[in-house]
């Protein structure tokens, strides 16, 4: 495929740069959460659960705003959605935490953790979207 104009490359570099910066900020917040909520071996991974549920709720809020105004602030929403929230939430720690719990002889806890996170995260998105939409309607209605 032929290379496109330099402007396109510049936009792509800017996009990757804001995603990198957002990812670093999100990962630092996740690491801070894991230090504030240390989990003993064989225990329920509270920090990862909290991070994944709050991150899922926040992406619901963000994407309602994006859908309401398509095409606006592309860099900002990639920074927040793909960068910050993507770096903040994690699937790999979730999977490794579950395997570690099984290895520590807590298979039921592992299954419960897997299910609660998955169902909880999808519900967090649903609730966040519904609440954000409701607030958006009230906001516009009062104007």
């Amino acid at each position: 495929m032929a290379r496109r104009a330099g402007q396109h490359d510049g936009a792509q570099v800017a996009l990757l740069a804001v995603i990198a910066l957002g990812g670093a900020i999100g990962a630092v917040a996740r690491h801070a959460a894991s230090l504030m909520l240390p989990v003993a071996s064989g225990d329920w991974p509270w920090a990862t659960l909290l991070v994944n549920l709050t991150g899922s709720a926040l992406i619901g809020v963000l994407l309602v705003h994006v859908t309401a105004r398509p095409g606006r602030h592309r860099l900002l929403r990639s920074f927040l959605g793909i960068g910050v929230l993507g770096g903040y939430t994690t699937f790999s720690t979730y999977a490794v935490d579950a395997v570690t719990l099984v290895a520590e002889g807590r298979p039921v806890l592992a299954l419960g953790y897997l299910a609660v996170t998955a169902v909880g995260a999808v519900l967090a998105v649903a609730v966040a979207v519904a609440v954000t939409k409701a607030f958006g309607r009230t906001g516009r209605g009062s104007q």
Binding site: A24, A27, R30, V51, G55, L85, G86, T90, T93, A126
Partner: protein, 122 residues
């Protein structure tokens, strides 16, 4: 140094997720959110490997903080996984949504276990 390793790893992992997601999605197309599935399973395998190799050592160096917490953490995502699953439900594809959760979780956990076992052997 730990924080810098986390930042550095995540600054690589997040754009890598975006590029991988797009490349996979272009090849496999719609139906299930394959891009997110691929990054989450691949990242789980890598973190399993890192955890297996690092063993009991409390790592704050390049391997655990940089590759584990930073890169694997930012390369994989739960927020996009949850959002895409919810979107399938909204689009009336509840079966696809359930399948997405089931396949992602089973493949992710299997990949993490495989990585751990291989890592411990290394």
């Amino acid at each position: 140094m730990t924080w810098w390793w986390v930042c550095l790893g995540a600054a690589v992992g997040a754009p890598l997720r975006y590029l991988t997601d797009r490349a996979v999605q272009r090849r496999l197309g719609a139906g299930l959110p394959w891009g997110t599935l691929v990054v989450n399973v691949a990242g789980s395998l890598l973190l399993g490997l890192v955890t297996g190799v690092a063993g009991q050592q409390t790592g704050d160096g390049a391997l655990v903080a940089g590759v584990g917490i930073g890169l694997c953490g930012a390369f994989t995502t739960y927020s996009t996984f949850a959002y895409e699953t919810w979107q399938l439900v909204e689009d009336g594809a509840a079966a696809s949504a359930a399948l997405n959760v089931l396949v992602s979780v089973l493949a992710g956990v299997a990949a993490a276990a495989l990585g751990l076992v291989i890592g411990q052997l290394l």
